[in-house]
């Protein structure tokens, strides 16, 4: 199975965009070799600025550039983009509704050995409450390109969440559409919704559940804002249970987004697979996924114990 770093794909996509659009400007805060914005920096040094370890400054500077018609992509780790610079994102980026694309890498528990301080488990929640902000959590390498191109094409602020580790490329998928959930397998007993690396875990769970005679509808909800409420409501109406999986706190992220729609429009039981009221810790990504109950077998268990 092909394995790719999402951030490699991001860097390469930025270079392609930079060739097509001279208004694209890229910013980083001393992490360009990790976020891979260095690929753009090498190719277009006049349109790349490194701010050093000063994420708040980078974020507000992006607003100044955008006010002059620039399409700004900026990157740092998710903990810093969404956490450290949040007020700048709120007032200078989101309130201004500027064409700024925050591409945050190293999100989630799979950051691994760096431990809790560097493992963003709150970033989707922090970005999701901001008006005007679109959010995409791509599931693999190729989808990272889709997400970046969608952000480039659609005006306004975006938050794109990428991981640190290599991720397997998912088997043939339907076409990526910004704002639309992606049906991966159809099914009638239970719907599993996931984003990011959890789509792969959910796929493993779906295959095992199929062997037990349980028909799983698997949806990749890569776009968290605007959320595809149609596909969510359809699942609520047509299957008996919804399980939502994310490499994020169970409060405020994808599961909360789904819950909000379901509670308002068609209440059914929703089970959350995510990190429950804990910080992360050091370890290897695979170990941590097990420790925090974020693996395929954990999703399977959640389905089996809740499917009456």
């Amino acid at each position: 199975m092909e394995q790719l770093y999402q951030r490699d794909v991001y860097g390469q996509t930025l270079v392609k965009l930079g060739e097509q659009d001279k208004d694209i400007v890229v910013l980083d805060a001393d992490l360009s070799s990790s976020t891979r914005t260095n690929l753009f920096a090498q190719k277009f040094p006049q349109r790349f600025f490194n701010f050093g370890v000063a994420e708040q400054n980078m974020m507000a500077t992006a607003a100044g550039l955008a006010s002059c018609g620039k399409k700004v992509f900026l990157s740092t780790f998710a903990v810093f983009a969404a956490g450290r610079a949040w007020d700048q994102v709120r007032v200078s980026v989101s309130y201004n509704n500027f064409d700024i694309k925050i591409v945050a890498t190293h999100a989630g528990i799979t950051v691994g050995p760096d431990g809790a301080s560097h493992q963003a488990l709150e970033d989707i929640a922090l970005m999701r409450v901001l008006a005007n902000m679109s959010i995409i959590v791509p599931a693999d390498g190729p989808q990272t390109q889709d997400a970046v191109l969608a952000a480039a094409k659609n005006p306004g602020p975006f938050y794109i969440r990428l991981g640190r580790a290599k991720v397997p490329t998912l088997e043939a998928q339907s076409e990526f559409k910004f704002g639309r959930g992606q049906l991966i397998t159809d099914g009638k007993d239970v719907t599993v919704m996931a984003c990011g690396i959890m789509v792969q875990e959910a796929l493993l769970a779906a295959k095992n559940l199929a062997c037990r005679g349980i028909s799983v509808r698997l949806i990749n909800l890569h776009t968290i804002r605007p959320l595809d409420s149609e596909i969510v409501l359809k699942a609520a109406q047509e299957t008996k249970l919804i399980v939502v999986c994310e490499e994020h706190n169970t409060i405020g992220g994808l599961a909360s987004s789904v819950d909000e729609i379901i509670a308002e429009k068609y209440p059914v039981k929703v089970i959350r697979v995510g990190v429950r009221n804990r910080f992360g810790q050091s370890g290897e990504p695979q170990e941590l996924l097990k420790e925090y109950a974020l693996t395929g077998p954990d999703i399977e268990k959640a389905v089996l114990s809740n499917l009456a």
Binding site: V25, Q46, Q56, A63, G64, S67, D87, V91
Partner: protein, 268 residues
């Protein structure tokens, strides 16, 4: 404008500020009055702009980082024809183009502000955009002195010097007061000039109510190469209204009808 004309214009601006705030019954008179001469002179004699086309790509940029003092900015924008003067008296009302803190729905406003400490970075972005586009516009950013207590100001100060932004001029309205008292008592800022110098800036220190000095500083800033310039303008909070001058309480309290009447008499 001549210095005499500027003095007349600034009095007119201060009158509008008092009238707007009295009508709104909320807002920030102290810092609006301390910055009145600086903003009046900048728009009258320095900035390149076209009120009929506020987004003209070659316009000079002005950003008010101390967003709470927007009444003085709105008054100056109206006097220069960015929008009708009647709009001034809708300040802070529902549906108004003049929000309590700057918003892009106001013609002439480039970016929102209001959360202190972000504006200098925004100005830096405008300065870098000029470099990328090879345009010769200049960027001006007005900061408060209390605002300089925000750490993000110094991140931006470091970066403006690092990127040698000589098309950028920061103006510090150093009125010495903030909400909880005198800046030096709340959180000391001095030596202010030495701080900016240490960050790699050209520093010009002036009396921010002396138009001769203000114009000379703006002119000198344009000649400085390879580094950004900061004008530290020593001002008086509430300047022009005797009972507001240096009075911390008028940072964020609008004048009552009676106070407004007295203020307008003084500014007649």
């Amino acid at each position: 404008m001549t210095i005499e004309e500027l003095e007349t214009r600034a009095r007119q601006v201060r009158r509008l500020v008092i009238q707007m705030l009295a009508k709104a019954a909320s807002g920030h008179p102290g810092g609006s009055l301390s910055a009145a001469d600086l903003v009046t002179a900048l728009y009258a004699n320095v900035l390149r702009f076209d009120p009929a086309n506020p987004r003209w790509p070659q316009r000079d940029r002005f950003h008010m980082s101390k967003g709470h003092c927007c009444p003085v900015w709105y008054a100056v924008l109206a006097l220069h024809g960015f929008f009708p003067q009647e709009e001034l008296f809708t300040l802070r009302q529902r549906g108004s183009i003049l929000q309590g803190h700057p918003d892009r729905k106001t013609p002439g406003v480039e970016s929102a502000s209001g959360s202190l400490g972000q504006g200098l970075a925004i100005a830096l972005g405008m300065s870098l955009a000029a470099r990328i586009d090879k345009l010769d516009y200049r960027v001006y950013c007005l900061l408060g002195d209390g605002e300089l207590q925000e750490g993000s100001v110094w991140e931006a100060a470091m970066a403006c010097a690092h990127f040698s932004c000589d098309n950028l001029c920061a103006i510090v309205d150093a009125n010495g007061c903030q909400i909880d008292g005198r800046c030096e008592d709340v959180m000391g800022l001095e030596p202010l000039a030495a701080k900016w110098q240490a960050f790699g800036w050209q520093v010009i220190e002036i009396n921010g109510h002396d138009f001769k000095q203000i114009l000379a500083a703006y002119a000198q800033a344009q000649t400085i190469k390879n580094k950004p310039t900061v004008i530290i303008a020593r001002t008086v909070k509430g300047k022009g209204v005797s009972f507001m001058e240096g009075v911390v309480g008028f940072h964020g309290r609008a004048p009552t009808a009676d106070e407004a009447e007295r203020a307008l008499k003084e500014l007649a």
